[in-house]
């Protein structure tokens, strides 16, 4: 099984690379890059850690699981003493007082952070154009958006600047940019990885997840970051996923595959993505898999329900950004003036729009008709998944309805941007694990299993890679 992490470790052992040399090279590439994928480059910290890693390698004390592996961190995570801006103006000078649990586990395993990566402000966007630091450019075509909100992270992985990056996924923010940049991106089961130290967008769907060019590395990283954390009470302790899941298993051909008919018949879906997806289903049938058509909710209804709930949650989560105890402050004549001036002048247009939308749906007169209806729909989605996974082992869908749009177009037509999440938000509302794999269609394929089914997903992704 291909693992970039293991290849780097082999080079360290053979002495063909030093860690300092590798890290200096990657930092040099990031400095020269025109993709605008980085908010803060951690050059001094990374070089110091690389030197310590070389000492460790030379001493023969053995390599930790991620010893000397360069990685990127979406700029919504806390890394003690380092800027944590959320790609916003209001936190542009904010320093993280502590380190996020998931990031702490990676550091303890020896990984070296290279950069805090550009993203949509507080995760608010699907094109990575809503950033105080400016738009990110797609790894494959600089005139196109990279997707979002974890656009900088997906680009850095696709360009080979980082061996892996840690994104955040609320409604598709890891999967959609992974699809647009042709890399693997996993949104784990809700609660599998601690959210402690992740800036909250919509707490009930926020997930921490890895982006990588290697399936094996996704497995390694998932094992390292997973587990119960007293600081995030939604976490649970999942079983370790062993490395031998990638060996050939004839039973994979017996897995029953489901797909949503209405996703494929949607007017919103690009014709080429549709035909590629149908071709993929036929390849699976030719290999002996049974493929079953399933019914799901209308894609526009899913997007509507998701945004209603996400906006309501973000309006509450971001109420803390008022300039009182951290972040930028614009003085006013009263404390109420200060709040309003600080937020009006320092939050981006899309973020202001989502906060206002969130307060709108929670207000009297809207809550009953909109917010409560979205909550009810979410329960029905959970019921629908529960029923579907009694019939099939894996559900496949396109990652996105369309290929990445040109830079600037999403800003002119936000509805198109919201609808680019049509195939990812349902799985987020259900809390299910789902992988975006660069296979099958131009923006990849989304592989979903029931809760805690990451092992099945990774195993199936390897099978799919082999037969396509």
């Amino acid at each position: 099984m291909d693992s970039e992490i293991l290849k780097i470790h082999e080079a360290y052992r053979q002495g063909s690379h030093t860690c300092a040399g590798l890290i200096a090279g990657r930092i040099g590439e990031l400095e020269k890059s025109s993709h605008n994928s980085v908010n803060f480059l951690l050059k001094d910290m990374a070089m110091e850690m690389a030197s310590a890693a070389d000492d460790r390698i030379r001493s023969g004390t053995g390599l930790r699981a991620l010893e000397g592996i360069p990685f990127g961190i979406k700029d919504v995570y806390m890394l003690q003493g380092i800027n944590a801006s959320g790609s916003s103006g209001i936190l542009k000078n904010y320093k993280a007082p502590y380190t996020a649990t998931a990031i702490r586990k990676l550091l303890d395993a020896g990984a070296i952070p290279l950069a805090k990566e550009n993203c949509d402000c507080f995760g608010h966007g699907s094109s990575n154009e809503n950033s105080y630091f400016g738009p990110v450019r797609n790894a494959l075509d600089e005139d196109l958006v990279p997707g979002g909100s974890s656009g900088g992270s997906a680009v850095n992985v696709a360009k080979g600047f980082t061996t892996f990056s840690i994104g955040g996924d609320t409604g598709g923010s890891i999967r959609q940019p992974s699809g647009y940049n042709r890399v693997y991106g996993l949104k784990p089961t809700y609660g599998r990885i601690s959210r402690y130290g992740l800036m909250a967008y919509a707490s009930s769907t926020d997930c921490v997840g890895p982006i990588s060019r290697s399936l094996e590395d996704i497995r390694l990283l998932l094992n390292i970051m997973s587990g119960k954390d007293a600081r995030d009470q939604t976490t649970f302790e999942p079983a370790f996923i062993p490395g031998d899941i990638f060996s050939d298993d004839p039973n994979t051909r017996k897995i029953r595959i489901g797909y949503y008919r209405n996703f494929i018949e949607s007017d919103n879906l690009d014709g080429k993505i549709r035909s590629d997806f149908i071709r993929l289903l036929n390849v699976l049938k030719d290999n002996g898999n049974e493929v079953e058509e399933l019914e799901f909710f209308d894609d526009k209804l899913l997007v509507s329900a998701y945004y209603v709930l996400a906006m309501a949650e973000t309006a509450s989560n971001l109420a803390r950004l008022d300039g009182s105890v951290y972040g930028e402050r614009v003085a006013g004549e009263s404390i109420r003036d200060q709040y309003a001036l600080t937020r009006s002048e320092n939050l981006t247009g899309e973020t202001r729009k989502r906060i206002v939308g969130g307060n709108q749906v929670l207000a009297h007169g809207y809550a009953e008709d909109i917010y409560q209806k979205a909550r009810s729909l979410r329960k029905m989605i959970t019921g629908s998944f529960s029923r579907d996974f009694r019939r099939v082992g894996i559900i496949l869908s396109p990652v996105t309805p369309n290929t990445p749009p040109p830079l600037g177009s999403s800003l002119k037509n936000p509805m198109v941007m919201y609808l680019s999440d049509a195939y990812t938000v349902g799985f987020s509302l259900g809390g299910l694990p789902t992988l975006s794999a660069p296979l099958g269609t131009g923006t990849g394929i989304q592989i979903t299993a029931e809760k805690n089914g990451e092992e099945s997903i990774l195993k199936f992704a390897k099978y799919l890679k082999d037969i396509l």
Binding site: Q80, K95, A96, P97, S204, A230, Q233, F297, L301, V303, S304, A305, Y307, V308, M311, G323, S324, V325, E328, A331, G332, E333, S334, I335, R336, Q338, A340, L341, R343, S344, L347, R352, K353, R354, I355, V356, G357, N359, Q360, A363, H364, G365, Y366, D369, I370, K373, S376, L377, R378, K379, M380, T382, G383, R387, P414, M415, Y418, G430, G431, K451
Partner: protein, 92 residues
């Protein structure tokens, strides 16, 4: 109009008004009729919520000295080594 006025205050954003794009999104779910788009779907509470018996007891965790120092550094305004708090004017 009466319902829209508090948005500016609720959001603490000057001139806050509902967005037409977001309004279109909201209308989709508002107009979805039970028994039509959502027919044949049962409601299941799911297990996204943490059971009461699984909640840990409240615990006070002392911050490290470095954490305390960074929290002070992050304070928006300082004068002569004091942290300057916001102006509060009581409104009747």
């Amino acid at each position: 109009m009466e319902k829209l006025m508090p948005l500016e205050l609720l959001s603490n954003i000057r001139g806050a008004r509902p967005s037409p794009d977001v309004g279109k999104l909201f209308m989709i779910i508002k107009d979805a009729l039970p028994g039509n788009d959502v027919a044949d779907h049962e409601e299941i509470s799911g297990d996204l919520y943490v059971p009461l018996e699984d909640l840990r007891d409240d615990e006070v965790i002392e911050s490290s000295s470095m954490e305390k120092e960074i929290i002070k550094e992050n304070f928006p305004e300082r004068k002569n080594d004091y942290l300057v708090v916001s102006t509060v004017i009581e409104e009747i």
